[in-house]
Symmetry: C2
Subunit: 148 residues, 2 copies
């Protein structure tokens, strides 16, 4: 393959990986989500602490999924991926929605950065960063009300 | 060079790039910060809106720098970089501190993800994502009080 063909093929594989990861989140399937990660994935997530790895990611997912009464709504918008031969990154705006066990309804747009490494021929998610900004009016309120 | 030497050389260049970027932030030098970015850098930053590009990044930096009475304290901890031939990413925990014009004193740890592209032989920052998590106690308070 030419370099351009190889790059396009990798970007196709990475789009498929993100689609698989998204489907696993919607289905609240912890094992399926975890299969997309490397053994040492570092996660910067919506909830404290500052960073999570390994079992903390797994336990965080399980607790988060359990807080929804049904499937998690997870829409990925404007996913752009830049792929090298064995390192890649992507970013998107994602909408998370659904009914929660505490009676509330979540509907929030977040920013997602996904960083990938090719290990043994297969792409995996080596690092993820999901966040919302916060209001700079002195309130320090997380900006969970923004739209793209 | 061997692949391993080439990877190590690129990771050295990227560490130097982050150091230059950090020095420019400390010096509140907007032009010097901007020289580290590509023309189309996408920024997910601490302040709304969800995303910033180009002039919005420049204007945001100018306003932010003007809110400090002196140099910006900017410490980068645990910077890990994964470099491919023309795509790379890194992550770190950064401490931002300093006296503000409103009389307050900022001292906050943030998560930073930096994504790089090699353009015309030189590495540039193509995407950055800087955030804090928020408390999941229903308050939606940004977690500006966390320590690594």
């Amino acid at each position: 393959m030419t370099d351009a063909n190889s790059k396009a093929a990798d970007e196709g594989r990475l789009h498929a990986l993100v689609e698989g990861w998204t489907k696993a989140i919607r289905a609240r399937d912890v094992d399926a989500v975890m299969r997309h990660y490397t053994a040492d994935t570092l996660s910067f997530d919506l909830a404290p602490p500052l960073q999570h790895r390994s079992d903390a990611i797994r336990n965080g997912l399980a607790a988060w999924f359990a807080s929804f009464t049904g499937p998690v709504g997870y829409e990925v918008r404007d996913l752009a991926i830049e792929a090298g031969e064995r390192v890649a990154f992507g970013h998107s705006l994602n909408r998370i929605s659904g009914a929660r066990t505490d009676g509330s309804h979540t509907d929030v747009w977040v920013r997602a950065t996904l960083c990938f490494r090719k290990d043994g021929g297969a792409w995996k998610l080596a690092h993820e960063h999901v966040s919302v900004p916060f209001h700079m009016d002195g309130s320090f309120r997380a900006a969970v009300d923004l739209k793209p």
